[in-house]
């Protein structure tokens, strides 16, 4: 009846996951009780859960990403604590538990923290930057989000019901095959990643379509803001790479569920094919993350230097170059598997070449700052911190791309230091900068600068103290993923690294404090004009927060940095452009399709993990029925009358006119 599921799946004998799980469940129940008691449920359901508004979905993506970032960070703290004490000792985490922690950490950080944050910012910003009202397929967008949430939920369920994979964030066979991992851990991984992967793929389709087909009149490709360009490149990579991931994991699933032999040791299977295919996705994946990060830095640096982005065209070229070349380097993740000198040399060279594209970008940012009047706001600090850290992070990558060096450093702590160097100081810094930068647009008030700067300084110091020692122990011969060790030289370095984590905990505390303080003091931090930073792109034309339809009248773009030009003209002539003629606006209706689909997807996933076949069939029927109901609905849109649009836009114009009259500009 319940497949493999029984009471023994709940780890009553292991206090750590049990207590952690209980706390999370209690928190969730508490939140739910609060929502119900206060009568917020109808609001939440109508305005958020069923919303197909790209801005709301973006905000929910970011919220999901931040929560998962916290969960992944807790895993990280546990690992650092373990390695700080497990010298000549077993530490407090038994091996089978330690293995789950590092596997969950990697999976969560890449797929359920960084990806939702990147996609969330893309959702919020891209339609605004393109000067349009929504994405190409609004309901599909909601489906994407909720499927991603399903994946995250499944990973977290594994904490209390059953176990998670012990195979690392990429489940290498033969270890991940049924023979060596008979439990449900790998199955949790597979279904969580597959379901959220479908969500990601749909996002890719949605945004490629949006950016290629739906832009404000006059917004040619070469007038698109840099962040939108990088979003396009990233989504093209999603379209090309995620099917590879899906197919590879599907093959592993067939091995585990139906006795196939794609990657087994026996019956003609070949485990090396798995490494090959998973990295054909895995390397593009790191660029899916880092390209939008580069886009964020471009916007931030240009805005706070008060200058257009230096070498816009070369930046676009470098982005597209990276987009293609990132599909020619994947073997550098398994130089040591033995493809031989010729193949290794070719991929070593292609890997080094990709750093050229990145180098071009670094110079562009430096020259954008050069001669500019720089405002040292929090987003700008994150960006400048990134410029310093990323150069060394990229260089260690180039070092690893030299096959003979990689034979020594592969799978060592040096590698771990490298990818944290580029992902933490490259992607995560960008995401925090982006959240800081676009927060006023999303919520109508700026974030507190003091707490933001504190977060930045603790983060960058904590980052160096945590990860630099890892390079050292890597060179001293320490391999990754060690549950305990008895080499005296490593011990001190690992303890320093743990001190670094303490500093990062302070940083995380400052970040939370910043959000709280800013919320409490939102009146004095209010963004009245909709353009708090003296911005240059179209998202700053509209109010903060923008109305559902984003723009009362679609902007007619006639220039690069069109908004900047418009603003300068308004200042010169001390008046706004003529009031446009307002028309009624048609907007897509909200729909519970995404949420209901994800509900059934969760059931399907859970049933497949525990081999509860009847439940899986129920889930499939439910999901299909949802789709049919959606396909049959006959009123997909509603109208916002012209009067209402006019009224709202006149208020916005009045706020702007006020600035022009008084000359008061409170730009940070």
């Amino acid at each position: 009846m319940l497949g493999k599921l029984s009471w023994s799946a709940i780890p009553f004998d292991q206090p750590i996951p049990l207590i952690a799980g209980a706390v999370v469940v209690l928190l969730m129940l508490g939140a739910l009780a609060l929502v119900l008691a206060k009568g917020w449920m109808p609001y939440l359901w109508k305005e958020w859960i069923t919303s197909v508004d790209h801005k709301r979905l973006g905000i929910m993506y970011v919220l999901l990403g931040l929560l998962m970032l916290l969960r992944g960070f807790i895993d990280a703290i546990m690992m650092r604590a373990q390695q700080a004490v497990a010298y000549h000792a077993q530490g407090y985490l038994p091996p089978e538990h330690y293995n789950q922690v590092f596997s969950a950490h990697g999976t969560i950080m890449v797929l359920f923290a960084a990806m939702p944050l990147v996609i969330g910012l893309m959702n919020f910003v891209v339609p605004l930057q393109l000067g349009v009202r929504d994405v190409a397929f609004p309901t599909l967008n909601s489906v994407s989000f909720w499927l991603t949430a399903t994946g995250a939920l499944l990973v977290n369920i594994s904490l209390v019901v059953g176990e998670f994979a012990r195979t690392g964030w990429l489940p290498y066979p033969p270890l991940s095959e049924l023979r060596y991992s008979p439990g449900v851990g790998v199955d949790y991984y597979l279904w969580a990643v597959q379901i959220s992967g479908i969500g990601t793929l749909l996002t890719g389709i949605n945004f490629v379509t949006t950016i290629l087909k739906i832009r404000a009149p006059g917004m040619t490709y070469m007038r698109m803001p840099m962040f939108s360009w990088t979003a396009l490149a990233s989504c093209l990579l999603i379209l090309a790479a995620f099917p590879v991931l899906t197919a590879t994991l599907a093959m592993l699933t067939l091995d585990r569920y139906l006795g196939f032999h794609f990657f087994t040791n026996e019956a003609g299977g070949n485990a090396m094919m798995f490494m090959n295919l998973i990295w054909a996705w895995g390397h593009p994946e790191v660029y899916i993350l880092v390209l939008p990060a580069f886009g964020i830095y471009s916007e931030v640096i240009s805005t706070f230097s008060g200058k257009p982005l230096f070498g816009y065209r070369s930046m676009v070229a470098a982005t597209l170059f990276i987009c293609v070349v990132s599909f020619m380097t994947w073997l550098h993740h398994f130089f040591t598997m033995g493809a031989g000198g010729d193949v290794n040399a070719a991929f070593g060279i292609s890997t080094s070449i990709i750093a050229v594209g990145t180098g071009v970008k670094i110079y562009n940012w430096l020259f954008t700052m050069y001669g500019g009047r720089i405002r040292f706001t929090t987003p700008m600090l994150w960006s400048m911190g990134f410029l310093t850290t990323f150069i060394t992070g990229g260089l260690t990558g180039v070092l690893l791309a030299v096959p003979p060096a990689d034979f020594i450093l592969h799978n060592s702590m040096f590698l771990v230091a490298h990818f944290h160097h580029v992902i933490v100081a490259g992607v995560v810094f960008a995401l925090l900068a982006g959240i800081e930068f676009w927060w006023p647009k999303a919520f109508g008030y700026r974030l507190h600068e003091g707490w933001g700067k504190a977060t930045f300084w603790f983060s960058i110091v904590g980052f160096y103290v945590t990860f630099m020692p890892m390079y050292v122990v890597g060179i001293l011969g320490m391999t990754r993923r060690l549950q305990h060790y008895d080499v005296a030289e490593w011990h001190w370095w690992l303890q320093i690294s743990s001190v670094g984590v303490l500093i990062l905990i302070v940083a995380a505390g400052c970040q939370v404090a910043q959000l709280l303080v800013s919320y409490i003091r939102r009146e004095e931090l209010k963004d009245i004009t909709g353009d708090p930073w003296n911005g240059r792109t179209l998202e700053w034309v509209t109010t903060s927060p923008p109305p559902v339809y984003n723009f009362a009248v679609l902007p007619q773009v006639i220039d690069t940095e069109y908004y900047w030009e418009l603003k300068q003209r308004a200042f010169e002539q001390a008046r706004l452009s003529e009031e446009p003629k307002y028309e009624a606006i048609e907007m897509p209706r909200n729909s519970p399709t995404g949420f209901v689909c994800a509900f059934f997807a969760t059931i399907i996933g859970f049933a497949l993990i525990w081999h509860i076949w009847w439940l899986m069939i129920v889930g499939l029927i439910g999901a299909y029925a949802t789709f049919v109901v959606f396909a049959w609905r006959d009123v997909p849109e509603y109208m916002i009358p012209a009067d209402e649009v006019a009224q709202q836009d006149r208020a916005r114009r009045a706020a702007r006119q006020h600035i022009l009259n008084t000359g008061e500009v409170a730009w940070q």
Partner: protein, 130 residues
Amino acid sequence: MTAHAHGDDLEHEEDDRGGASDEHMAHLGTYALGLVLATGLTIASFWVAKTHLIYDPGVPMALATLAVAQMGIHLVFFLHLTTAPDNTNNILALAFGLLIVGLVIFGSVWIMDHLNHNMMPMQQIMQMQR
């Protein structure tokens, strides 16, 4: 390039263009032709696999050729890929797709070939483990 609130408009646009019923019939005609061609190619591949008219080692090649032709038919008749100027995006997307698929397949074959070549024969590994 025009602006739309959202994608449903894209579909409306298509609908409006092909609104007249004789155009619908023309559409139907291309679909029917596509179906005939696609079915023909499918039957042909079953026939190729069974027949002895073709030099045996050449059969995989023949099947691959038929598969590529099948994809072409699908692209032209069902996905309406043309060389018209409003189709640039689709052509570019196809080119990008082909490039990436080509890179991944070519790279994988090359890599796996070298890996297998460099692998010790199984018996030797077994002996080392003794």
